[in-house]
Every structure is written in C-alpha cells, then in structure tokens.
C-alpha cells in the first residue's frame, strides 16, 4: 500500500477525555517523544476542577494541549489541529478550540447513549452521526473494543484492560506522526517493571494502536514535523514546578545553605513539595506542616537557624502567611515564599490559572511591609527566576516573594539546562565573631546595601534576641520611640529599593528602543505577548515587548524605558494589577488588557488588541 508523508511546520493536539482516561499521561508521553526529536514544544494541561467528577460528565473532562513545531514557539497554541475525544463530553467541551478543517479522533464507545446523555446531548442526537461535524475530518474508532481485542489473551479484568485504552490512542498517534515508540516502551518498563501484566497490557495496546493505523488502508498520509532551529546545546523537557524545585536545589548547593521547605499541600503548588521530598540526597529537608502558617513559620525557624528557609503555596495560603512575612521583614532574615497563583478570591478556581496575587504580594500585609518580588515567565524560567530570588534573599537579608502560576507550573517546554559550574555563585557571610573595636554585637548595624549581619545560633559571643516588635536602629533592642519608628520604616523601604542597584537593567525582548507602543508584561503572559508582538512586527507594525522578572523593586531604567514610547499596553490575567503599580510609580497612562477567565491570554486576541491600538479603525 502506498502511503505518503507530509511535512508540517506546526501542530497542536488536544488530548481530551474523562479524568479517569489517563489523558495527562498520554499527553506527557507524546510530549516526551516529541522533545527527544528536538522539536520545539509547549504544553498546557487543563485539569478538571473536581478530582473525581462523575464519569462521562462535562466537569469530568481532563485535557492536555501540546503544540510542537519546527519553528521556535512560545505558547501551546490558540486553536487545535487535532482533537482526541475519548468521549462525548470531551468533544463537547473542546470543539470550540478546534480549527475548521481540523481532525477529530473520536472513540466511538465514548459516544454511546449513556455518554451522550451525560454530556447533555439531546435524546437521539449523536454528533458523530448527525453531520454536524461536517467542517472537520472525523476519524472514528472503537478504541475500547479494539483494546479489549488486543488484550484478549491476557488474564485480567475488563476494567483493568480498559485502562490501557489511552495507550491504544497514543500508539495510533505515534503512527500518524511517524514516531518511534521507544521512549514510551522504556517508560513502561521503568514504571510497570514489577507488574508484568500491566506492562504487557500497556505495551500491547500501544502496539495495537500503531498497527491499527499502519494496516488500515484509509490512513494514506502520515505526518512529520522537523527538528526546530534552536540554539545548539543539550536539551531536556521541563515543567514549571519541577524547574522551581531544581532552582531551589541549585541555589542551595551553590550557596552551601542546606534547603528547608515548610509547606502545606495546595493546588497548584504541591508538586514542588513532592519534587523536593524526593531529593534528600541533596540534604533537602521537607516538612509537611499542619497548616500554611506553620509552613512559613517553620521555614522562618529554619532560616533563623542558618538554613535556606522556603515555603511554597498558592493564593489562599499567601493570605494566611501574611503575618509571618511581616515577622521576617522585621527580623530581616532570608526567606523565600513561592506563590503559584491560581484563580481567586477565596478558594476561587484552584485548577485554573490567574495572575491575581500581585497586589497581595505587594501590599497584602499589615504595616509598611516592603518585600522584593521576582516572577517567572515560562516553565523553564522558573529555574533562573527562583535562583535569582534566593540570591536576593540571602545577599540582602530579606524575605522574597517568588510568583509563578498554574499555567507555567504545569506547562512543559524544552530546556537547555545549565551546567552547575556556569551558575552564578551565591556568597554568604555569616557573622562569626565581634569585629575590631566592637565590644557588643549590634544586630541591626548595616552595611552599604543597608543589610544587617546574619549571626546564627551556635555562634559564641553573638547571642542576641530578635522578634516582631519594632527594633531600635543598630542595637535591635525593642523600641517604641516615634522617631526611631519612622527611621526604621524608611530604612526597611530603602533597603528593598536599593536592591535595584544589584539587579540587571530592563531589556527589551524585541522591537525598537523607542516608538509607538510598548507591550509590558510579567509572568506567564510571556509566550502570548512574544508571539503576538512578533506577528505584528512581521506585518510591519512598530511595537516592542519588555517582560519583567523583577517586580519589586523594578529595574532602575524602567521609568525611562516606559517614557520612550507613545503608548504602553499591559496585558494581564487579572483585573489590572501591574498596571496600578506602574501608573502609581511612573505616572504613565498605560492601557490594560485583562482576561479573567482562568485561562491564558491567546496570541490571536492580543494581536487584535494591538491592532486596535496601532491602527484604529477609521
């Protein structure tokens, strides 16, 4: 049989099914396989809000979006080319994101009367049969039946056999995109090595899916995406929370400070706790505390003892930790608070993404309580950004907030990982004894950076007391003196502002240094802004992009940069937070683009907004 191969540049596949269908695993396996071929990629897992929503229902749908390309890409794509729909609910929830002419790979067994009813299709209506999908190419297959058939000589219950359905689909996709299945077969061996029957069922289902494509004459074309032209080097695939955990370990190793994580499980931050718990070989101590407050206060205790104290959380946990952050500000000790933001307020949208904790990070504490803030813009950037956050915490003796969000925490991308020897060093100076002419230790005597000495318990001769009450300048004794309080508030503020002298100037990501429009972003909007701006530039529009890592203090040249443009647009996944701070600090009449739907901003909508600003309809 003759079969041709078509070369594609850019493909977006959405794997969608019931949360029990294993779509996250299917997606991540295909992602790994793609990554190993040197193809650029970006992913976006879309978890259901409920852990176990009733099977087959709309809220129970779990999705995993993968975009891969022979070009450099920065977002998981606005629309899909291929939708894998394991059941009717998966089709219904995701159809709107499928391109016209896109492919639907539908598991017909998931479209029986029961599934159709659970997905709220009217009685007697089956979208696979009624011609309503005429704009798409529908590939129907009874995955359930064919999987059972492939596993018929294995002695195991039907329920267990059905668990391998997703691997049948994965095998079929490997066929479709002309892939070698080795990476997944290897994964099976690592994961199921000890469970022979599960290893066997998954392997067979995977092969059956591949063979189904290969032997069925209707599939006359397979597809290939070439390697992307990325910077030369060795790459791996990395997810945001994983990169965050690695960044912390790297900072601990390079600074020589053992890492202590105090954390309380919360979506979408728990994976950092899970990841760090596995790395005891690096001397990492993880402590699953009884609540969010104990999580941060135990980290404060560890920092006080001379370790690198870290706590990880999300919005609601940030709120609970606020008072303790104030204590760390008052005591001026290094501490890292990582907030993996999600939709709020209150419990909000735990599994959906949002950038709505920026104002909380800036202002959400009692008293005048400034803290540096560093943010990550992509999954792999979590590594470098958190490393920088730790550097600031240690070298400036201050608690630092690190902001990430659900989108980059769970998203994956290729990463040209650094060598440990190339990482910047983080020097630490503990105070070990009284200096020349010092007859008494002065815990709040500052250096030129306004940083106080770090003397840890166990250091003879430097015994001292610190705490949350206002400190007398220099001595650190309790003081209620009015002038002293004003002085100390100013010093704490200035100390944080001074950090601007020790961070890089703001660079443009692309575009001219002055001009009509600057798009200013922070955090996970990076990919969408970068892609939208690139498209505009290709169309000949004059537009530039700057993306902030340092949110407090801002880079020292930011004001000048903002004033070099006629207009500034600030897109955010919130109701306008960075824009308030920018307007306040620089008196710039920036415009907002806000999306508050729990999902990332797309390139397409941003391009529309940019056109509106640059080429207003006449």
């Amino acid at each position: 049989m003759s079969r041709k191969e078509e070369v594609l540049q850019d493909v977006v596949i959405k794997f969608a099914g019931d949360s029990g269908d294993g779509m996250q695993l299917t997606g991540s396996q295909f992602t790994n396989n793609t990554a190993l071929l040197g193809i650029d990629l970006a992913t976006f897992p879309d978890f259901p809000a409920e852990i176990r929503a009733p099977q087959g229902t709309l809220p129970g749908v779990s999705g995993y979006q993968l975009r891969f390309s022979s070009d450099r890409i920065f977002t998981p794509g606005d629309e899909c080319d291929v939708l894998v729909a394991m059941n009717a609910a998966a089709l219904k929830t995701n159809l709107k994101t499928l391109k016209k002419g896109g492919k639907i790979i539908a598991n017909t067994d998931g479209f029986d009367t029961k599934n159709l009813r659970l997905a709220n299709y009217p009685d007697g209506i089956n979208p696979l049969e009624d011609g309503s999908l005429g704009n798409y190419e529908v590939i129907k297959m009874d995955v359930t039946k064919m999987t059972r058939e492939a596993l018929k000589d294995i002695t195991m219950g039907t329920k267990e056999k059905d668990r391998a359905k997703n691997m049948f689909v994965l095998g079929f996709l490997y066929f479709m995109y002309n892939r070698d299945m080795e990476s997944t077969l290897h994964f099976f061996k690592e994961k199921f090595g000890k469970k022979a029957d599960i290893l066997e069922s998954n392997t067979r289902a995977l092969q059956a899916g591949y063979n189904f494509g290969d032997t069925t004459e209707t599939f006359t074309t397979t597809f290939r995406v070439e390697k992307a032209k990325m910077e030369p080097g060795v790459y791996r695939s990395i997810m945001g929370n994983q990169a965050l955990a690695y960044g912390l370990i790297a900072a601990s190793q390079k600074s020589g400070l053992p890492l202590f994580l105090g954390s309380y499980p919360i979506t979408p931050a728990s994976d950092v706790l899970h990841e760090l718990s596995r790395h005891k070989a690096f001397g990492v101590k993880t402590f699953q505390a009884e609540d969010e407050i104990a999580a941060i206060t135990s980290a404060i205790g560890a920092s006080y003892g001379g370790l690198l104290g870290v706590t990880t959380t999300s919005g609601p946990g940030m709120a609970l930790k606020a008072e303790a952050m104030g204590l760390a500000v008052m005591m001026e000790i290094p501490l890292l608070i990582c907030d993996i933001q999600r939709g709020g307020p209150s419990t909000g949208l735990p599994t959906k993404t949002e950038q709505s904790d920026l104002l909380q990070a800036y202002y959400g504490r009692n008293g005048e309580c400034p803290m540096p803030i560093v943010s990550a813009s992509t999954p792999s950037d979590c590594f470098g950004a958190v490393y920088e956050a730790v550097r600031i915490a240690i070298q400036h003796m201050t608690p630092v907030i690190f902001l990430s969000d659900g989108y980059i925490a769970n998203g994956a991308e290729p990463w040209r990982f650094p060598k440990s020897e190339d990482l910047p060093s983080i020097e630490i100076k503990f105070k070990t004894d009284l200096g020349h002419g010092e007859d008494k230790f002065q815990p709040y005597l500052r250096d030129e950076k306004l940083v106080r000495p770090w003397a840890i318990p166990g250091t003879a001769g430097l015994e001292h007391r610190i705490g949350g009450l206002e400190k007398q300048n220099i001595t650190g004794n309790v003081s209620y003196d009015p002038d002293n309080h004003q002085l100390m508030v100013k010093i704490r503020q200035e100390k944080v502002e001074k950090i601007a002298e020790y961070i890089p100037e703001q660079k443009l990501d692309s575009g001219p240094a002055t001009g009509k429009l600057l798009v200013l972003g922070w955090g996970s909007t990076y990919g969408a802004i970068k892609s939208a701006v690139a498209e505009m530039q290709e169309e000949g529009f004059e537009v530039s992009h700057a993306h902030l890592r340092h949110l407090r203090p801002f880079p020292r040249n930011l004001g000048d940069l903002l004033k070099s443009f006629d207009q500034v647009l600030i897109p955010e996944i919130n109701n306008g937070q960075l824009i308030k701070i920018i307007r306040d600090q620089y008196f710039v009449d920036a415009k907002a683009y806000n999306k508050i739907m729990g999902v990332p901003i797309t390139k397409t909508e941003l391009v529309m907004k940019l056109k509106e600003l640059l080429a207003p309809a006449s």
Binding site: Y235, R236, K280, E290, A294, G301, F417, I466, G467
Partner: protein, 343 residues
C-alpha cells in the same frame, strides 16, 4: 569529652541581659525567669547553643531577658517556629515560652502537632488563665462563669485541661509545676530538659493584675497541702498537711483515703511515670478546689515515655538516602533521564 568540659563555668547572672524586665511588679513571670536562669548554668550547654522562642503575650517577653539566642515571634507560632528551627538545627537546645492564650488558643494547632511529632524541645506553658497583655479577657483555661472584660455576664466557655490535651496529642513528657514553688519549678525545668522529646511543662503563673489568686488554693501555705498532690516516682500518692491522706484506685476511679483510718500505704496508688493508663487518670484529676470532696491537684511529672524524635528521624532518612544513592549531583539532576542535542 562532653561538651560541658569546654564551657566556662556560668552563673545565673550570665544568663541575664541588660534589658529592663517589664512585667508588672509581683507577676509570677519573675519567679519563672529567676528559676530558669538558676538552672541554666547547670545544664552543661554553652549559652550560644540555647535558643528561646516565644509567641505573643506577657510571658513571651521572656527571650529579651535571657542572654542566649532568642526570638519573640508572632502570636501562637512559637511552637511552629521552634519546629522548623529544631528540624534545621538538631544540635541546638530549644526552649519555647508560651501562654494559655498563645499556646492553647491561637496557637493550639501548632502545639498539638509539635507534641505528636516529638521534636526534642521544651515547652514552658505559663498558664495564668487570663489574657494579660490585652488587659483582661478570659482565656481557654479560664473557669466557666468567669467574669472578665469580655464576659461581663460570666464565661460560657468550657476550659481546656492542658495536660489532658497534651496527653491526647501523645506528648512524651507531661508535667505541671507552679511559680510559687521555686524548688519544684527548678526540678521540673531540669526534668523537662533531661527528657529527650517534646516536654510539655505547664506552669501555674499568677497574674496579679488581671487574675490575682487564681491558683491560691494550690500555692498558699494554708491551703496548699490539702489541695495539691506532689508526684514522686515509685512513691504512693500521699498529701495533706499531716501527710495523712492518700489516693487509691477504686477500679478506674481515684478516691481519697484517710491514712489514719487503718488504710495502709500499701493500698495506695503508686506513682509510675511510665504508665500511660494511669497517666490518663492522673491528668483527669482536675477538680475545682472550691467543690467539697474534691481530689487534690497533682504536680510533678505525670508521664514520660520514649519515642524517636522528629529531627533525628529526619536526619536519619537523609543519611539513609545518601548512603544508598550517594550524595546528590547537581549536574545529574539538571540533566534528568532523557536529553537531546541540537547541533
């Protein structure tokens, strides 16, 4: 050689700071501070290795008056701060100063979790049955019907029995003492220190401003002998001014017996700190001393047991992983299992 050999001989004065002590004159806190400063030199720990962590409340000013390392943290969180510190630095001697409001109300959660984890730290819970620093509201140990600023018609809260709570959280050392009995207080502090694991020492502390005489039946010379029972390991439970009353067990019920009435000391309950069942009954000897026929209130070490400490197990787990997998290699970690090269 033990660490003690290299430590200069210290005196209580060496543990005092230049900070003016600011409790109200007559406050029970003074006695507790004095006894802590008295026992510290004898513990054989270098001053720099002692850390005192407190929360918020009158008692929580304590660290400022001790010339060791110290942290006056935030309300209720001393136990959580101390947990992190001890996990990070098992080599330090960590002492927690907390009160009935700090440790049992706003910080109650951390207290019970610290106890179940059994960090090797010493909790000194200053119980004055009132909120002193905020000027006189009832606390979680105030008696029912108590009239305070926030309960003008009397409190309708049922109070905690702190030792029963500690035992319920599987504390490995549970004891009670009082500010007005310096010798017993000193002994109790030393025992707390000697115990390996979390020591929960409740100290009755008089707040002479907002709750004066709350513990008078137990502390005053005239009433103390009949209302208190001082526990001694292996000794029968005997009390009373004439030492003529004892406690025996009637099934599971402690009853008072008159030793004059022919009851021999042999019938009496013999105190065994290691008996967890008896400890349950002992902590429940919590009668209101104003009620006729009430049981005396026990003081001393109610219970002690051995259980591995959290920080030790944490270290052990780290060492075991390093033994079996080797020390972590950062480049290997960053590289992961699967890579590809772009040339």
């Amino acid at each position: 050689m033990s660490e003690a050999a290299s430590i200069p001989i210290l005196t209580p004065k060496d543990f005092a700071t230049d900070q003016e002590v600011r409790w109200c004159p007559g406050c029970g806190d003074y006695s507790i501070l004095a006894q802590v400063q008295k026992i510290m030199p004898g513990l054989g720990i270098a001053r720099e290795n002692i850390v005192i962590i407190s929360g918020i409340g009158c008692s929580s000013r304590f660290p400022y008056y001790m010339n060791t390392y110290g942290m006056h943290s935030i309300h209720g969180r001393a136990t959580a701060v101390a947990s992190g510190l001890k996990a990070a630095r098992p080599d330090l001697s960590v002492w927690i100063v907390t009160g009935d409001g700090d440790g049992l109300s706003i910080g109650g959660n951390h207290t019970i979790h610290l106890l179940r984890r059994n960090f090797d730290v010493n909790i000194m819970l200053f119980n004055n049955q009132i909120y002193g620093l905020t000027k006189g509201q009832y606390s979680p140990t105030s008696e029912e019907q108590k009239v305070t600023k926030s309960t003008p018609y009397g409190s309708i809260d049922h109070p905690f029995n702190p030792l029963a709570l500690a035992l319920g959280a599987d504390a490995t050392f549970v004891a009670r003492t009082m500010d007005r009995d310096p010798k017993h207080l000193q002994e109790s502090l030393v025992r707390s220190h000697q115990h390996k694991g979390s020591s929960f020492l409740e100290i009755y502390q008089n707040c002479n401003i907002f709750n004066d005489a709350a513990f008078e039946p137990f502390t005053e010379k005239a009433t103390k002998p009949d209302n208190t029972l001082f526990l001694e390991q292996g000794k029968p439970l005997i009390f009373g001014a004439q030492r003529n009353k004892g406690i025996k067990l009637d099934g599971f019920k402690p009853v008072i017996v008159d030793l004059g009435d022919g009851a021999g000391a042999d019938d009496l309950w013999i105190h065994d700190e290691r008996d967890s069942n008896k400890a349950q009954l002992l902590v429940r000897m919590f009668d209101d001393p104003r009620i006729d026929g009430h049981l005396p209130r026990p003081f001393g070490v109610f219970y002690e047991t051995d259980r591995p400490c959290y920080e030790e197990m944490m270290e052990l787990q780290l060492q075991e992983v390093i033994q079996s997998k080797g020390a972590g290699n950062l480049d290997k970690l960053l590289r992961g299992h699967e890579t590809w090269t772009i040339s």
